[in-house]
C-alpha cells in the first residue's frame, strides 16, 4: 500500500501541484531526447519512448546530457506541451535552470536512501509541495 506515502525532500520551487507521475529512473536526454513540438520522448532506448511529458509531473534522478538540457523543457512549455511539475532525487545545475525557466513547482534533494524514482510509480497521482518539499502519493496507479 503506497497510497498516503510521504517523501520529504527540499522545497525548490512553489507552489503545490497535483498530477500524474511519469517516472524516468534514467532521466531524459536533452538533445535528441524530446520532441519539443509534441512533448514526446524520442530518446532511443528510453523506457517511455513514444510517451508524452505533457501535463505530467516528471520524477527523475537528475538531468542528463548537454548544457542546453533546460532549453528542451523551456521549448516544450512554449509550445504548450510541457510538464506541470518536477521531482528530482538530487538537484543539479541543469535541473535548476529547467525549474527556473519553466517556473514549475519542484521538490528535490531527498535524503540518502529515499529514492522517489522507485517509491513513486508511473501513473500514480501525486502532490508536490514545492514550498515544503513534501511529496505525497494520493492514489496508486491501479486505483485510478
Amino acid at each position: 500500500m503506497r497510497k498516503g506515502t510521504v517523501l520529504q525532500g527540499r522545497g525548490a520551487k512553489g507552489p503545490s501541484v497535483e498530477g500524474i507521475a511519469l517516472v524516468c529512473p534514467n532521466s531524459i536526454l536533452g538533445w535528441n531526447g524530446l520532441d519539443v513540438r509534441t512533448g514526446e520522448i524520442i530518446e532511443e532506448g528510453h523506457i517511455h519512448k513514444g510517451e508524452r511529458i505533457t501535463g505530467k509531473i516528471l520524477v527523475m534522478p537528475c538531468s542528463r546530457g548537454s548544457i542546453a538540457w533546460s532549453d528542451y523543457f523551456d521549448d516544450c512549455q512554449r509550445n504548450g506541451v510541457g510538464p506541470i511539475g518536477f521531482v528530482f532525487t538530487k538537484m543539479d545545475s541543469k535541473c535548476g535552470t529547467a525549474v527556473f525557466v519553466t517556473q514549475l513547482p519542484c521538490a528535490a534533494d531527498f535524503p540518502e536512501g529515499v529514492d522517489p524514482c522507485s517509491i513513486i510509480h508511473d501513473g500514480d497521482l501525486i502532490r508536490v509541495d514545492g514550498e515544503t518539499g513534501r511529496v505525497e502519493i494520493l492514489e496508486e496507479r491501479g486505483a485510478l
Binding site: 527540499r10 522545497g11 525548490a12 520551487k13 532521466s27 538533445w31 535528441n32 534522478p61 537528475c62 538531468s63 542528463r64 546530457g65 548537454s66 548544457i67 542546453a68 538540457w69 533546460s70 532549453d71 523551456d74 538530487k90 538537484m91 543539479d92 545545475s93 541543469k94 535548476g96 535552470t97 529547467a98 525549474v99 527556473f100 525557466v101 519542484c106 528535490a108 534533494d109
Partner: protein, 439 residues
C-alpha cells in the same frame, strides 16, 4: 530559505546599481533558492552566445533572408528571451568587472559566400555582435575561449554556455564552474553574481567513479573516443577520475576529450591524475572518498567507439570539416604541413574551423595562405552544426570530431564518416572515404 546577500548585493537588489542589475540579480537569487545555495559569489569571467539567436532549425529550406529571423535578438538585444522582465532599453552593459567573451554564432566572422549564406544575413549577425560589443562583450566568437585569452586561474569563478568549457575550466584550470544553461548564464553576466553552489564548493570537487586506462592514448582521436567510452559508463553528475600509465595529454587532446565527454554524459568535472591541479595523485583526486564504481578502458573499447561513429560503407564525400572545438593556430599549421603539395579535389569543400584570435595568428604565420593554396578554407566562429547552411547540399560528409559526427548523423540524411584529421585531409584530396574497421 533565505539566501544571504552582501551589502553590495543588497544595494544591487534595491536598484542602486541600475535596473538591469536589479532584475538580473533577482533572477540569480531565485536560481539560488531553487538550487539550495546559501549565498552568491562574484563572477569574474562569463562566456555566452551573443550572436543572432537563429539556429539551423529555423531554416529547413535554407532560405536565410526571412524578416522575422533577421529581427531576432537585435532590437531587444536578447533580453526578452533571456531575462524576462528586463526592459531592453534598461540594459546598457554587462557587469563592468566581468570579462564577457562570446560563444560561437551562426556565420563565419569574415564572409558569407563560402558558407552559402547571404550578405544581409551575415551583416545582420555582425550588427548583433556589434551591439554585444557595445554592451561590454569582447568579441572572440569561440567555443574554446581558453584559446582566446579567456583563461581563468585556479579558484576563479566563471560561467559559460559551452559544456566542454565547463569541463576544461574545472578539470584543467582548477577554476570553479557549474553548467546551468544559457538563460541563467546571461543573467549572471549582467549582475556579476552566480549562486555559490555545486562545484564552487570544495567538498564537492572529488572523484566518484574511477577509470583505469589500459589503452593507447597517444593521439587526439584516442582522447576523442575516450570521451564517449567514459561518458557512456558514467552515472549522471558523477566526477570521473582518469588514471593509469598513459602519455600525458596536451590542450588539443583534452579539448577533444572534454567535448566528447560532455556530449556523452553531461559531466562537469573530470579529474585526470597527474594532470588536473586538484588530482596530482589518486588520493588527492578521491579526497578520502571510495569510488562508487571502477572501470577499465581497453583499446577494444576505444576501437569500438571509432567504428560505431563512422558510416560503415566506403563512399564519396564532398564536405569535410576539422575543428571541434575550434582549432589552435598550431593545429592549422600541422594540417598545412600534411596538405603541402596536395590539392583538394574539384567539387569537394574542405573547411577548418578556428576562432578569430587563432585565425589572426595563423594569418600572421602564413598558415592561412598555405592552406588556401591547397583549396582548403579556414572558417571561424562556428562549425557544421552552428554555421547555418555550411554543409547544405553535401552528398557525403567526413569529420574528425565525435560530437559533430553524432549530431550531424541526426541532422543529415547523407553518410557521415568519422576519422582522424589526416583521414579527413586524405578524403578531401580524393573525394572518397575508405572505411577502415578498427575492432
Amino acid at each position: 530559505m533565505n539566501v544571504r546577500l552582501t551589502p553590495e548585493e543588497q544595494a544591487m537588489l534595491r536598484g542602486e546599481r541600475g535596473e538591469a542589475k536589479r532584475v538580473a540579480l533577482e533572477k540569480i537569487v531565485e536560481l539560488a533558492e531553487i538550487l539550495g545555495a546559501e549565498e552568491l559569489v562574484p563572477v569574474t569571467k562569463a562566456h555566452l552566445c551573443c550572436g543572432s539567436t537563429a539556429s539551423p532549425a529555423d531554416f529547413p529550406d535554407g532560405v536565410l533572408d526571412k524578416p522575422e529571423v533577421l529581427a531576432m535578438g537585435y532590437d531587444d538585444w536578447q533580453t526578452l528571451r533571456k531575462c524576462k522582465g528586463l526592459e531592453p532599453k534598461e540594459f546598457q552593459h554587462f557587469n563592468e568587472d566581468t570579462f564577457v567573451l562570446d560563444d560561437v554564432h551562426c556565420t563565419d566572422s569574415f564572409g558569407w559566400e563560402w558558407t552559402q549564406q547571404t550578405k544581409s544575413f551575415y551583416e545582420n549577425n555582425m550588427a548583433i555582435l556589434q551591439k554585444a560589443a557595445e554592451h561590454g562583450v569582447v568579441v572572440g566568437s569561440t567555443c574554446a575561449p581558453y584559446l582566446a585569452g579567456w583563461v581563468p586561474v585556479m579558484g576563479e569563478v566563471v560561467v559559460t554556455t559551452e559544456s566542454s568549457n565547463v569541463l576544461y575550466c574545472n578539470s584543467v584550470l582548477g577554476a570553479r564552474c557549474n553548467g546551468g544553461g544559457g538563460i541563467t548564464t546571461f543573467c549572471a553576466a549582467i549582475c556579476g553574481r552566480t549562486p555559490k553552489w555545486g562545484l564552487h564548493l570544495e567538498e564537492n570537487r572529488h572523484g566518484t567513479h574511477v577509470f583505469h586506462m589500459d589503452c593507447d592514448l597517444s593521439t587526439r582521436q584516442r582522447w576523442d573516443v575516450l570521451g564517449f567510452a567514459v561518458g557512456k559508463r558514467l552515472a549522471p553528475n558523477a566526477i570521473p577520475v582518469i588514471c593509469g600509465d598513459f602519455e600525458r595529454p596536451d590542450t588539443v587532446k583534452l579539448k577533444s576529450f572534454f567535448t566528447a565527454l560532455a556530449t556523452a554524459s553531461g559531466c562537469e568535472m573530470c579529474l585526470i591524475v597527474g594532470v588536473s591541479p586538484e588530482a596530482q595523485t589518486y588520493e588527492m583526486a578521491m579526497g578520502g572518498h571510495k569510488p562508487a564504481a571502477e572501470f577499465t578502458i581497453t583499446d577494444a573499447d576505444l576501437n569500438a567507439e571509432i567504428d560505431a561513429l563512422c558510416h560503415p560503407e566506403s563512399g564519396p564525400v564532398d564536405f569535410l570539416q576539422i575543428g571541434c572545438p575550434n582549432m589552435t593556430a598550431d593545429e592549422l599549421r600541422k594540417v598545412a604541413l600534411y596538405m603541402d603539395g596536395k590539392q583538394v579535389k574539384d567539387g569537394v569543400r574542405f573547411c577548418l574551423f578556428t576562432n578569430i584570435a587563432q585565425y589572426a595568428m595563423a594569418k600572421a604565420s602564413g598558415t592561412i595562405e598555405k592552406l588556401e593554396q591547397t583549396g582548403a578554407k579556414v572558417l571561424t566562429s562556428g562549425c557544421i552544426l552552428r554555421t547555418i547552411n555550411v554543409a547544405r547540399g553535401a552528398k557525403g560528409i567526413g569529420l574528425s570530431a565525435g560530437k559533430l559526427t553524432i549530431c550531424s548523423k541526426s541532422d543529415q540524411v547523407v553518410p557521415v564518416y568519422y576519422g582522424t584529421d589526416e583521414e579527413v585531409c586524405d578524403a578531401a584530396v580524393s573525394g572518397w572515404w575508405e572505411v577502415k574497421r578498427h575492432a
